[in-house]
Amino acid sequence: MVRPNILTNKKYTWCPGCPNFQILAGVKKTVEDYMVASKNKEEFAMVTGIGCHAKIYDYINLPGLNSLHGRVPPVALGLKLGNPRLNVLGFSGDGDAYAEGLGHTIHAARFNSNWKYLIHNNQVFSLTVGQPTPTTEIGFKEKTTPLGVKLQPLNPIKMMLSVGATFVARVFADAKQVEWVLKQALRHRGFAFIEILQPCIIFHAQAMQYKNNLYWLEKAGHDKTNLEQAMKRADEFDYNVAKKIPVGIFYQVKKPVFEDQFPQLKKLGKNGWKDIKR
């Protein structure tokens, strides 16, 4: 078959050189590979929040919803319950996933519905021109924070490990890394939490140096079935000082999938409830 092209021809409005382009390239490669491998039988849907990350919705020709700020997990869950056969990809920024919609992020891990959540974490509200988010480092200053950030940043990896997420990973915004981790996540049956460190080159450019401090968990002999080890690895980067940033899969475990509890969903065809006549 002819290799599909999932990109639209919408003009890009990310800043030139934005690491979001790397995420786009990684997602494009992965999804297209899946389509080819399944002879177009695998269907994908996507959900985005609000922020720079969400522009990806316009660049990828997949159905779904460009939703509200912070509300990606409920919509993604709704898509899975509307049609469990869809491969649902959720995209959020750190403002979405850790500020406005933190509760949904935690419950998404608890529910363990079979969809994949990619967080573009640039540690700053970029589309509103640079305010601090829950993962901004102590001391960060900008116009609305003249005294500097005083709060310890949230560690989302530790948080997701502690609330029972079944797949917890982190990569840097690099097309190859995104492709690798998304393929692993799509092979995981259950909820996958993927944090992508995606430095904002305008408002948080200092994070570009993270690239030099990454190390791969797999190569370091990390046991991704060991929750205690995963917690220790997660502690190595507290989102303040970036000496050593572990990337790869922190933790992966099999647990019951949310959709599986409903016998009503088992007999649905390829269009979900849409085809059910009553």
Partner: protein, 497 residues
């Protein structure tokens, strides 16, 4: 034509509900019309809860203030309600089992014992003990207040909540999302027990924002989707209602009102959220708001909400309240369900203003044309709505006195107008507002009846028709309690010409 009113009171947990359900159900099968409402506090054990059951050989849809028979399961009940007792009212009290009282009541009403035995068999639980107590009560009670005769009947006994659930199932519901909140919770309970057999999903999520977010996710796959909530939960949903308006998502929202603001009086009743449903959500978008006045209309209007939401890809709100949701009505008329097709398919949906393909845009020309398209949709909705019964008229059509109201006040009003020179206009379509109303209101002595403090229907009427109903023509109740037949009748008489 005699109306009998029975009051059952006690602490939460003492079981006045079982007793009232049993008597109500037996009376309906016996051929009588029963209306039964519940007054309960926001607590689980203790406190003071009571049920009022009014019955008559003719149709009735409301309770009276004055009581013929009181069952006082505790002392507080007698103390609290003695002022409501009629002169020769009967009081049943003393430390007796519930079913002892049941026996005594059946005897007092002159109902054959078999009718009680039948109900106890249906109840099943503790039958052996119950039948002994019931017999004892029946034998030991020597008084009578009525001699009821069995009549043929086709009536059914149901609540607003049961009917909302039933209406959703008959409309082809695929997925219902909810989060518990009084008084919308009974619908969750009704649906939960029937989900597997009727092959639809019932899902409880972490909060109302998640509930409606997930509903939008399912709705865009083409599923017939519904959510249910009450005041505060509805507030949380409003951003997503606006999203449904922007993205053309079909969604049915059930709102069971309770008195606000804030937590208000959570287990009591109010009609304070009419304006909320009309204006919920930022920006300008299209919606339908339907207000049932009894359980039959609950079923019919849920199906109508599905029809409008699916046909026009809009949010459709069905607004009820605690009094309608949790009271039991005796109904005889057949129910007319509106069928609807699933017209939505998965494609690109967007909360941004977007082009025909669903891609975000800021282009002035497209933004404007989208607004024009939505305004045109508004016209089409209004035109389609005219094909349905957007209002109903009862009583003497040519009377110069006209009551105007909406929602659960319908029951008490219908009971009041029977022998008076009155016409009653019930407004069912809140949005789009029926065109004919303006003409109907002309040259009438209007009496506006609402269960709120600011006459929100009055505001709507003024906005849509230019008719201002003065304060002297308003009967507003806002003590979190429903209108009672005998009290309301006096208030109406005082405003008639």
């Amino acid at each position: 034509m005699t109306r009998y009113t029975l009051l059952f009171g006690g602490k939460a947990g003492q079981g006045p509900n079982i007793l009232t359900n049993l008597l109500g159900s037996a009376l309906v099968k016996y051929g009588y019309y029963v209306f039964y409402s519940r007054d309960y506090q926001s607590l689980i054990r203790g406190g003071h809860n009571f049920n009022v059951l009014t019955f008559c050989e003719n149709p009735l849809f409301s309770n009276d203030y004055e009581v013929d028979l009181m069952v006082a399961l505790d002392e507080v009940t007698e103390e609290t309600h003695k002022k409501e007792l009629k002169k020769n009212a009967v009081i049943l009290k003393g430390k007796k089992e519930n079913m002892y009282y049941a026996g005594a009541i059946f005897k007092l009403l002159g109902i054959e014992f078999k009718a009680l035995d039948d109900e106890l068999k249906i109840l099943k639980k503790r039958y052996e003990e119950n039948i002994v107590q019931a017999k004892k009560g029946y034998q030991e009670e020597k008084r009578t207040i009525a001699q009821l005769e069995r009549k043929k009947t086709k009536a059914y006994f149901t609540s607003g909540s049961e009917s909302i659930a039933q209406g959703a199932i008959k409309s082809g519901l695929d997925v219902y999302y909810g989060y518990p909140m009084t008084p919308s919770t009974p619908v969750l309970g009704e649906l939960a027990g029937r989900a597997v057999d009727n092959r639809f999903l019932l899902v409880e999520l972490e909060n109302e924002i998640s509930v409606i977010g997930a509903a939008i996710g399912s709705a865009i796959t083409g599923a017939k989707t519904m959510v249910g909530t009450s005041g505060g939960g509805f507030d949380l949903m409003t951003e997503n209602i606006s999203l449904a308006g922007m993205a053309d998502v079909p969604l049915v929202v059930y709102l069971a009102q309770r008195p606000g603001p804030a937590t208000g009086v959570p287990t009591y009743t109010s009609q304070g959220d009419l304006n909320l449903t009309r204006h919920a959500g930022h920006g300008e978008f299209q919606r339908v708001v339907l207000a049932p006045g009894d359980p039959k209309e609950c079923q019919e209007l849920v199906s109508r909400a599905f029809y409008f939401s699916q046909t026009f890809k809009i949010p459709a709100i069905v607004i009820s309240d605690k009094h309608l949701a949790e009271s039991y009505y005796t109904l005889t008329e057949p129910i007319k369900i509106t069928k609807s097709k699933k017209l939505t398919s998965l494609k690109k949906y967007n909360s941004y203003e977007h082009d025909d393909y669903g891609i975000s845009t800021e282009d002035a020309r497209i933004v404007r044309s989208n607004f024009d398209r939505r305004l045109k949709k508004q016209e089409e909705i209004a035109k389609e709505a005219e094909k349905f019964e957007g209002y109903k008229l009862y009583g003497k059509r040519d009377s110069k006195n006209m009551i105007v109201s909406w929602g659960s006040t319908k029951g008490a009003i219908l009971d009041c107008i029977k022998d008076l020179d009155l016409c009653f206009l019930q407004i069912i379509h809140i949005d789009p507002f029926p065109k004919a109303i303006e003409r109907l209101l002309r040259d009438k002595n209007l009496i506006l009846i609402e269960n709120n403090s600011t006459a929100q229907l009055g505001q709507l009427i003024a906005e849509k028709t230019g008719v201002f109903i003065g304060d002297k023509h308003k009967i507003l109740r806002y003590d979190a309690r429903p209108f009672l037949h005998d009290e309301l009748k006096l208030a109406i008489k005082g405003r008639m010409r």
